[in-house]
């Protein structure tokens, strides 16, 4: 489907390693590592990372940062000691596999120093703790070892604890701002982009980001790869948010995680016993996430019956709102999601609605068909970054309506082979997923008979979450065929089944 934006518009800004001074042997190993990572990345993510790095590199090379204002110069010189570069090193090669920034939030003396960074900076370590280790490089160039003490996959945060270094002065820590920011306030972002050195970048806080399931702040300032996990501070040097992502292709469209999630995670981190294994914790958070997302969809339906409009083709009907449930914290209060009904070429189909979902209608341009084909794609953009090649926790609905105009009936029927949506259910297992298990049958819907196929895959590393694909192909009309697909990523079996039942019930 051309013309559709990628599901994930923003990209994490931890950088893949760039060239450093190395011995030839190291360089060989290193090139291999880059290759391996790039090889594993899905095509779109790869292009994003490459694009981001090259863009950023070009920017860094050609356009020097504007002369810092007096307060920026002042802030940087005052707070640069509290910044670190977070390097996740591969044990076997003793070289970095991902880079980001971090900042000191508390120095407990002999108990260690507490730092905050992004989850996605340390994701590889969280998934494979035995293969990686964390090293911190403050501005003073000494390297400090650190351990992972808490992760928040949903808000993309992680807390690290640095080993206390005997004989050194205590590390100064950032204060966390308590009060909310007002749109238009100046914010300074700190970090170490692309290993070019620590820098400060000035920008403006532009309010909460709309169409995000979990709260994020819009920061109109420059964020680049490697600044992930760095702090964003106000005029007084108090942390207001954590650098997390930037919009590729956008001009100074950057995203911050509000500081209150940092505070909450720190409180949890201080009480939590030390642990070495993070997959069950990540799985637990993924389950909480999908419960929340599915809850929005399910509760929306129970709250109010769908209003079906006989509106003109492709005009969305009145959305069925849902109350943001209060039990999950950190939800944008206006964020809504739910099933809605929409008409596609005169037929009513279930779609996703609410501020979190995006629907796109249309067909392929420049294709001249002798039959009518209308498509409608809706996605609930609630994906979470789990690791380099794995984002999950979102769902898509796709409808394709085929109508016969000028074809003979056998020709139209033979469209079945090409007209069905790309079959993900034939896939074999990957390193992340088990192979798909499927079944299909004829199912009697309210008005039509469908051939429905359900496919299920499990996540190998995270127990209890699955990828669900439901494809319903109308089989009772030789002149018209609706092919509807609901794909749910990273969902529990119960929620997946409930949502698929609901989706099938609402197919007209």
């Amino acid at each position: 489907m051309t013309g559709l934006p990628r599901l994930s518009a923003s990209i994490p800004i931890s950088s893949l390693p760039t060239s450093v001074n190395m011995t030839p042997t190291q360089r060989t190993i290193f090139a291999c590592l880059i290759f391996c990572i790039a090889h594993l990345l899905p095509a779109h993510a790869q292009s994003v990372d490459k694009g981001a790095s090259s863009d950023a590199a070009a920017k860094a090379a050609q356009a020097p940062l504007p002369t810092p204002s007096a307060s920026a110069r002042d802030l940087f010189s005052r707070y640069k000691d509290r910044l670190v570069q977070v390097r996740v090193l591969l044990n076997s090669a003793n070289e970095q596999s991902s880079l980001g920034s971090g900042f000191v939030v508390r120095d407990d003396g002999p108990k260690g120093v507490w730092l905050v960074t992004n989850y996605h900076v340390v994701a590889s370590l969280a998934i494979n703790p035995d293969k990686f280790r964390i090293e911190l490089r403050p501005t003073s160039e000494r390297a400090v070892k650190a351990t992972l003490v808490a992760v928040d996959v949903i808000h993309d945060l992680a807390v690290l604890r640095a080993e206390p270094v005997v004989g050194t002065a205590s590390w100064p820590a950032f204060d966390l701002r308590e009060t909310a920011l007002v749109q238009g306030e100046r914010v300074f972002s700190l970090g170490n982009p692309l290993e070019l050195g620590f820098l400060i970048s000035e920008g403006i806080y532009n309010g909460p980001v709309e169409s995000r399931i979990y709260e994020q702040m819009l920061f109109s300032g420059a964020l680049n790869s490697g600044m992930s996990g760095g702090p964003s501070i106000d005029d007084a040097g108090r942390v207001v948010g954590v650098n997390v992502a930037t919009r590729r292709g956008g001009q100074l469209l950057s995203f911050l995680v509000p500081v209150r999630y940092t505070r909450e995670l720190l409180e949890r981190a201080c009480q939590a016993p030390p642990r070495k294994e993070w997959r069950t914790e990540i799985a637990r958070q993924l389950i909480a996430h999908q419960n929340f997302v599915a809850g929005k969809l399910l509760s929306a339906v129970h709250a109010a019956p769908t209003i079906e409009t006989a509106a003109s083709s492709k005009a969305p009907s009145k959305p069925v709102g849902s109350k943001a449930s209060a039990d999950v914290e950190g939800v944008v209060s206006a964020a809504r999601a739910g099933f809605a009904s929409q008409t596609i070429a005169g037929r009513v189909v279930p779609t996703l609605d609410g501020s979190l979902t995006k629907c796109w209608a249309g067909g392929r341009d420049g294709e001249r068909l002798r039959y009518q084909r209308d498509t409608l794609d809706c996605s609930l953009r609630s994906e979470l970054f789990i690791r380099q090649n794995l984002q999950t926790g979102y769902l898509n609905i796709r409808h394709m309506l085929l109508r016969n105009d000028k074809l003979a009936t056998p020709q139209f029927l033979a469209l079945g082979a090409v007209g069905r949506t790309a079959s993900s259910y034939m896939q074999l297992g990957t390193t992340e997923m088990t192979r798909a298990e499927c079944r299909d049958d004829f199912v009697r819907g309210t008005a039509h008979i469908y051939r429905v196929a359900i496919c299920l895959k499990a996540y190998k590393k995270f127990e209890g979450i699955y990828d669900f694909t439901v494809t319903a192909t109308q089989t009772d009309d030789a002149r018209e065929r609706m092919i509807s697909t609901l794909s749910m990523h990273g969902i529990s079996f119960e929620n997946g089944r409930r949502l698929s039942d609901m989706f099938l019930e609402r197919l007209q």
């Binding site: 192979r435 298990e437 819907g445």
Partner: protein, 336 residues
């Protein structure tokens, strides 16, 4: 009557023929002395000279006795005479035209008294019209397939498609015709064309029927067995080709065809089983046919949803079995 010794090629064709001389009554020697005999061996003074280092200089003698029967006598050799049933004996009474092995050489003894098989009538099957009919039907099917895909404003390249199909079919038949020419001297191109066309049409018919059956009855097995069925149809086609092209070696070729076909069926299944612990990945029916052809009753949504429960157990099981290899991700093992 007369007796003849034939030197056989391994494929059964006759390389040489030596008759036991018939003596006029006047020339008959003293009764009881058996002179109506020929000797076989490597030495040049034999009646039938064998070029076989595994034969003795004088290896065997064929004797015709008074009562008009014949026997083959071993002349005390190292390798002896071995019958078709792999028995070795010093003397064989000739009862049938089964061959004997002398060293590596095959011989056969026949009598002119023995009855011959009936004269076989020529095949009345009109090969040329049949071949042309098959060929045209194959092209018609190709055109139908192209037409089914003709759903855009721009038509597909019918002539290239059909030309390619015709060329492919002719090349296939010509290959067997050449093979036949080499072995039997007869090309029989049109017979091969008829066989190839029939095979193609039979395969198409069977596959379409299986798809239709799967859709109609909502059965999965017909689409699961398509791969072995294709192999079987191909094997049957090749069988007819080979039998026509080289009937003399058919006994050996038959085994080859069976072995190759069996392996072509078993190896993919076995590999799939080794890699994925199941025989097939086909889990759903892909084809959509005309609504009127659906015979299976649709189930209710609740029933379908309940049946989907079993999927969970299956993926959980798969997760347990290969959970451990998940760590190999991220390409780290390249460095280790």
């Amino acid at each position: 009557m007369s007796w003849v010794v034939e030197l056989l090629h391994r494929d059964g064709s006759v390389l040489a023929r030596v008759a036991v001389p018939v003596l006029a009554p006047a020339n008959l020697p003293v009764a009881g002395e058996e002179v109506r005999a020929i000797t076989i061996g490597r030495s040049l003074d034999n009646d039938m000279v064998l070029e076989d280092p595994h034969c003795a200089a004088h290896h065997a003698r064929l004797e015709v006795t008074d009562d008009r029967s014949a026997r083959l006598v071993d002349l005390g050799t190292r390798n002896g005479i071995v019958s078709a049933r792999n028995k070795r004996a010093a003397i064989f009474n000739i009862k049938s035209d089964e061959p004997f092995r002398l060293g590596h050489t095959l011989i056969r003894v026949r009598s002119s008294d023995w009855p011959l098989a009936e004269e076989r009538s020529l095949s009345r099957l009109p090969v040329l019209p049949f071949a042309m009919l098959g060929f045209i039907l194959v092209l018609a099917h190709g055109a139908w397939q192209l037409w089914l895909g003709d759903v855009q404003e721009k038509a597909p390249q019918y002539l290239y498609g059909l030309g390619g199909l015709a060329l492919g079919l002719c090349m296939w038949s010509a290959m067997y015709a050449l093979f036949g020419r080499l072995f039997t001297g007869a090309e029989r191109f049109f017979s091969h064309l008829a066989i190839a066309s029939t095979g193609y049409l039979a395969g198409t018919l069977i596959l379409n029927s299986l798809e239709l059956l799967a859709f109609s009855a909502s059965w999965l097995w017909p689409v699961r067995i398509t791969q072995p069925v294709v192999v079987l149809v191909a094997a049957m086609t090749v069988r007819f080709h080979l039998r026509l092209a080289d009937p003399r070696h058919w006994r050996t070729l038959r085994i080859g065809v069976v072995v190759v076909a069996t392996l072509a069926i078993i190896i993919p299944l076995a590999q799939h089983w080794v890699s994925h612990q199941r025989l097939t990945d086909v889990q759903i029916i892909g084809s959509i046919e005309h609504p009127a052809l659906r015979l299976a009753q649709p189930v209710s949504l609740q029933a379908f949803s309940a049946a989907a429960e079993s999927l969970k157990a299956r993926v959980d099981n798969a997760r347990k079995t290969d959970e451990d290899d998940g760590d190999a991700a991220f390409g780290n093992e390249t460095i280790e």
